[in-house]
Amino acid sequence: MQRIGVFVCHCGSNIAATVDVKKVVEMAKMEPGVVHAEDYQYMCSEAGQSKIAEAIKNEKLTGLVVCSCSPRMHETTFRKAAERAGLNPYMVEVANIREHCSWIHKDMEEATKKAVILARAAIAKVNLNASLKPGESLVTKRALVIGGGIAGIQTALDIAEAGYEVDIVEKTPSIGGRMSQLDKTFPTLDCSACILTPKMVEASAHEKINIYTYSEVEKVSGFVGDFTVDIRKKARSVDMDKCTGCGVCQEKCPSKKNSNEFNRGLNTRSAIYTPFAQAIPNVPVIDRENCIKFKTGKCGVCAKVCQAGAIDYEQKDEILTEKYGAIVVATGFDTIKLDNYDEYAYNQSKDVITSLELERIMNAAGPTKGHLERMSDGKAPKNMVFIQCVGSRCADKRGKSYCSKICCMYTAKHAMLIRDKYPDVNVTVFYIDVRTPGKNFDEFYRRAVEEYGVNYIKGQVGKVAPQPNGQLLVQGVDLIDNKQILMEADMVVLATAIEPDPSVRKIATMLTASIDTNNFLTEAHPKLRPVESPTAGIFLSGVCQGPKDIPETVSQAGAAAVKAIGLLAKDKLMTNPCTAKSDELLCNGCSTCENVCPYGAITYEDKEVNDHGIRETRRIAVVNNALCQGCGACTVACPSGAMDLQGFSNRQIIAEVDAICR
């Protein structure tokens, strides 16, 4: 039997004006288990807390009920007070007789009656409370960042600057990501490479940062503070230590007709290649699918010309196993495939391009050396049409339901840059809405219209029809003039929807990080915990969480780093003791609980149990206390009643129900 002390707070007059506190004390004394009850002006004050400590000592209390304000306000205060007096903090319950009683009722009798019932329910619960001890787990002081774009680089730099080791795993041969493909950035129009490459260099030179390019995360196990990750280092076929990055192999490679991914397939590259000139590391890889040596066994030109002897055709994939305390996902995005949007004739004409392709065309290192020209015949365009929201804001299966967020701004940027460099080119933009929230963003868009004379038409395009003369006939609508428009264009640029990089699905599954219907990673809380995954120890950086532009990505990358640092700074983690626990005698190992657990906290073990003298091995659910967040979904799903939640057990809640309905 518990020895319970009940402490009723007046909260000045906040409670005492509507609740007869003396009466509550009196009634509480009659409840089973209660050995002490008193009231006081301010229970949360120093003096109030001493009263509690004294009573714990003198009355040898084993449980406390504080009738006061909301537990969201002072539960921690009273728990700490109890702990200081030598009582387990989880033996404290709070009856909320202020927010849920005195503040909302006027009639003293009625409010007092309710306060007594609320106290009674808390007493009934405490009678069944058990001492709980938060678990402890050690923290590996090293972080993993998945993805080496601007998000991943920034997160890694921030974590490294705080003094922790960081590994970046990047699946392509170089870090840099989408930002390295961009020409200029809005709204300042500074060159993307000029601001990104110094960061790439800084990351690669940082003594705390270790970069694995051409590598992928293969397997993840463990939990917050203690993840074990297998990383596959794909065979580069070039020795990273020997290669000097001279580039002769790429020049001499006879297999030159391979689609250049970095230039979005607009031109070709050699089979041994670095994706772009400023690649980090500046070590090429051999694309084995297109390498003549790997296809036919004959060739070997690159090995012959390499002075450093760095070419290694025998290299194999390598699996590294590393330990991490925190993992940051920064997997970024790609543009959607346009096969379902051929009214815009993307598959029918080379002169219909995506905006990302235009970035490459505008870039001095791109397929046209920065000259604006048509991909079909190399001619300079005179009329260009931009179409907004291609695949974004789409309710059907063809596209994406969300706004891709960046298109309005980059289109204004493209339009402005073209008008600036080629004033004789007419630029028309078909838009549904121009969305420019952001510092200096709307001003930027207005400049495109007012200073650069970009023709913005409110309306969509229904069809782009390639003409026999090589022109593109654009059929659209002007909703302001209420006119259908037929307009000849030399090039059409599609503001193509962005989507999370397809690799994210596999990664999210490995991390048990939840993902939404659009494959964006879900935040722990959309407002208050936007850079954390609901899975402890997993943080989100950049577009993998939702569409964003560069400044937003960089700020989120920093925020994710801070959260990771906050975790790495701890030596040990205290875990919430209100976790689920399965009764091994009742559990039948059916896996129902595992399926509803959002954290992957439940696993199964073959365990020897002693069931009334019979010893046998059974498959039993085991809850990992470091992963369990204590939602209780499993307790209800469990068909045999084996799962229960500590601190909110079935018996405790039923006792409360009974006390209220008595």
Partner: protein, 129 residues
Amino acid sequence: MNTPKKQAEMIKEISGVNPLKCMKCGKCSASCPSYNEMDIKPHQFVSYVQNEDIESLVNSKSLWKCLSCFACVERCPRDVKPGKLIDAARQLVVREKGGDYLMADEIPELLDPELPQQLLVSAFRRYRR
């Protein structure tokens, strides 16, 4: 005579279209091959129904200019189906007594030797009850 509200409800019911899904992008009007012949344009069908101005809609030329070619239905990013809305308005008219747009005695004049049966059948079904 039905109230405008009732008429709008009928159009929504017959067409199965929810006008609230429209985001007013105009892609229907950008796609419509009959656009220039229409007085009320495809992207406006939705707002006429929303504003319960069915009177204007049923008296419009557009009613008889839609080809039911489904270009608007196919390309609509919000799955609104403007073509079904205008057909429902047409149904409101032809289901009324005297609402036929094609009279039997007009037919002989419209015929020519190559004219396929299919054309008559289709026109009958779209233009009258």
